[in-house]
Every structure is written in structure tokens, then in C-alpha cells.
Symmetry: C3
Subunit: 151 residues, 3 copies
């Protein structure tokens, strides 16, 4: 199966790998695993939005933002291991900048999870943690990291 082809058929294009916001790298391959850095919803070098879920950002907008984080994660993964070498997506953690009382983090993170499902099918089904946090780098509404098994 060609995941690269799936991606194209979904109308998605891997963006350039986002520059790290600090002294680290976008992804590391170690053995048969790739760990990505926490990905922000960066488009063309800039954050697509700032603010918090439950305040400036709606859950629906947040879902699109986590999908973008996932796409950026796939770009980082592709860069170190090649998208078509993915065996499966193992784990996703999503940090959701949340205004007081906002508890729909799972719905927001579904943006990332559904994109991974669309690209990798059964092999995109991952374990996941969704967490609401108070502040994220640069004011980002969301941040998503993943672990993938690769061949």
C-alpha cells in the first residue's frame, strides 16, 4: 500500500518540515521507531491561529488545527524514515490549550486521529492521550506529537 498515494488522493501535500522552535530536531529515528517533536499548526512558517479552545478558538477550528499538526508530523516522519515505510502509528499525544471549563479535548484531537486514519487505514489506529493545558508555545491552541513504527 502506498501511503504517499493515499495522501495525494486525499488532496494533501506534505509541507516543508517546520523549523524547530528550539534546540532540537523535528523527528528522530531510533531502531524501528520514529518520535516526532510536538508539532504546532504551522502553515507556511506561521502559526495558523493563536488562542484557546473554549475562548478564541472553537472545537471545530481546533479540529482543523490538530489535523494540520498531524500533517506536519507526517512531514517530519517522512523526512527521517519515508512515509511508505510506516508499519503503524503507535501513539499520539495532543495538548490542547483550554480555557477554564473546556473539556472537549477528545473531539479536538480527533482532527489529528481522523487524518491518520484516512492516510494509514487500520495501521493508523493508535493509542492516544488528550490533555488540556494552560499555555502552549507561541500561543498555539494545540500541539500534537506521535510515535510511529517503521520498517
Amino acid at each position: 500500500m502506498s501511503y504517499t498515494k493515499n495522501l495525494a488522493e486525499l488532496g494533501l501535500v506534505l509541507p516543508p518540515v517546520a523549523s524547530p522552535a528550539g534546540a532540537y530536531v523535528p523527528a528522530v529515528r531510533s531502531g524501528n521507531y520514529v518520535y516526532t517533536a510536538g508539532q504546532l499548526p504551522i502553515i507556511d512558517g506561521e502559526l495558523a491561529a493563536t488562542g484557546k479552545l473554549g475562548a478564541e478558538i472553537t472545537a471545530e477550528q481546533g479540529k482543523e488545527l490538530t489535523a494540520r499538526c498531524a500533517l506536519n508530523a507526517l512531514a517530519a516522519l517522512d523526512d527521517v524514515a519515508g512515509l511508505d515505510n510506516v508499519v503503524r502509528i503507535v501513539k499520539v499525544v495532543g495538548f490542547i490549550a483550554s480555557a477554564p471549563g473546556f473539556t472537549a479535548q477528545p473531539a479536538v484531537l480527533n482532527g489529528a486521529s481522523e487524518l491518520l486514519g484516512a492516510v494509514f487505514g487500520e495501521n493508523g489506529r493508535h493509542a492516544r492521550s488528550a490533555v488540556g493545558v494552560s499555555e502552549l508555545p507561541l500561543g498555539s491552541p494545540v500541539e500534537v506529537e506521535l510515535i510511529a513504527e517503521v520498517r
Copy 2:
């Protein structure tokens, strides 16, 4: 050693695996590792409590809730790899919904850690991070994920 037997001797019963709150699965096996999703303190399909540590929820209640998360994690682990195939519990991360000024996250997460110690003995001794966060899915007071090595 039979961990299933230990569990029974402790008077504990693995619950049905909790339905994911989003587009993911409760646990993934990859090679010799199992990653669980972030587990909420769900009993019979419902959150056992909502609220924050240091406000609606006491540290002692929180400890019981993280123990429940750990039990739910073991159910998810058992489902994909079998409890008796555990080599050791490697890592636990606990997210504790914390009211301002609440800093006893470690004591709260001990509920999960002590249950894992009781079930797996030396092989239940894990590395761990306890973190206080502002909001958790569905208003849950706690969320716990783990990584286990399995044979």
C-alpha cells in the same frame, strides 16, 4: 508468576475495556511494547467523578481515581497482549486536573503506582511523570497512560 492470579487475590477484576472517547484505540501493541491510551477513571461506562484536585476532589479521592485509571489501563493491556505476558511496566504518565495551588500530584498518582506495584511486584516498578493540568476530557479529575514491555 501469574499476574492474573495476583489481581484476583487483591480482590480486583479487570473491567471491560472502556470505549475510546475519540477516533483511536484503547491500546496498541508494537513489537514487545504496549502503549495504552490515556485512561480516565471510568466505572461501568461513566466517569467516577468530575472536578479538580484541590477543589472538588481531595488527594485521597484522587488516589482512588488514579488506581481506577491503572486498572482500566491493565484491562486495555490485557486485551492486546495478555496480563501474564507483561515483562515489566516501563513508564507511567499521570495528568492531574489541578486547582490553583494544588501541588500534591505525586501523592495522587501513587494510587496508580501502588496498584501496579501490588499486581506486578518488582516488575511493576516504573519511571513516572506527574503533571498538573488545567482541564481534562469530560471534566475528569485524572488521566493516566502507561507503557509496558511484554513477551
Copy 3:
């Protein structure tokens, strides 16, 4: 290459492994990986500071504190696998206790990342997530965990 020697040339000394704040261990080796517990900026058995970034703690102070967390993580790693057996640092997660509006978590976590780069060179380049949280154990301003590949 001797990382122990690098450390000495940097004027750094591995501290005694900090006692866990709960029912867990400072680091676990599983296969070719070491997972450390979340490390606090403990010096001589006491937190070097308490408070939040953007309030009581400046970004520059925070950077020194995450460097200390990284040093404590290396002590825990050394204890279970030996520093000179590190193949590479794979992943770092930094939780930064953040006052409302503080979004420079990446700059703060650079303290840890730069120390790892100084000690391990190219092999210290890791994937990383920086997250702002509301409260950390014992009132700590920062908490850092890492995963290392070892031989």
C-alpha cells in the same frame, strides 16, 4: 567518545540520583531504551526554586532550571545504563509551569536541550515537546523527562 569526560570538561558533575517523590523509580531500562521519570530541578535534595514562569521565575532562570533537570535525568540514566553507553537521546518532554500568557516554553526548555547537545554532540539531538501547565509537583517551575537509546 567518552560522554563522562565531556561532562567533566563542561565542569558538570552528576549529582546523586534524586529520590522519587512517590511510588516509582528514577529510571527504567527496557531493552535498548532508558525512560527517566519526570525530573525536578532538585539540588542537594531540595527544589532549587518554586513558582511559575512569567511570574516568580524569569525565562532565563527557567532555562537554568531545565538544565538542572537534564543533569538529574543523566544521573538517573547513568545509574541504570552508564552514561557512556548512550547511543542517542531520542525524546525530551518538558512541562513548564506557566503563568497566564507565558508562551516562551521552548526558550525555557532549551536549557535542557543545550546541555544534552553539549554532552552528547550530534547524538544529543532529540525530538522534543514543550508544554505549559498550570501546576507541577511541590510547586516546581519545570519538569523534564527523557528517553535515551543505549547499548
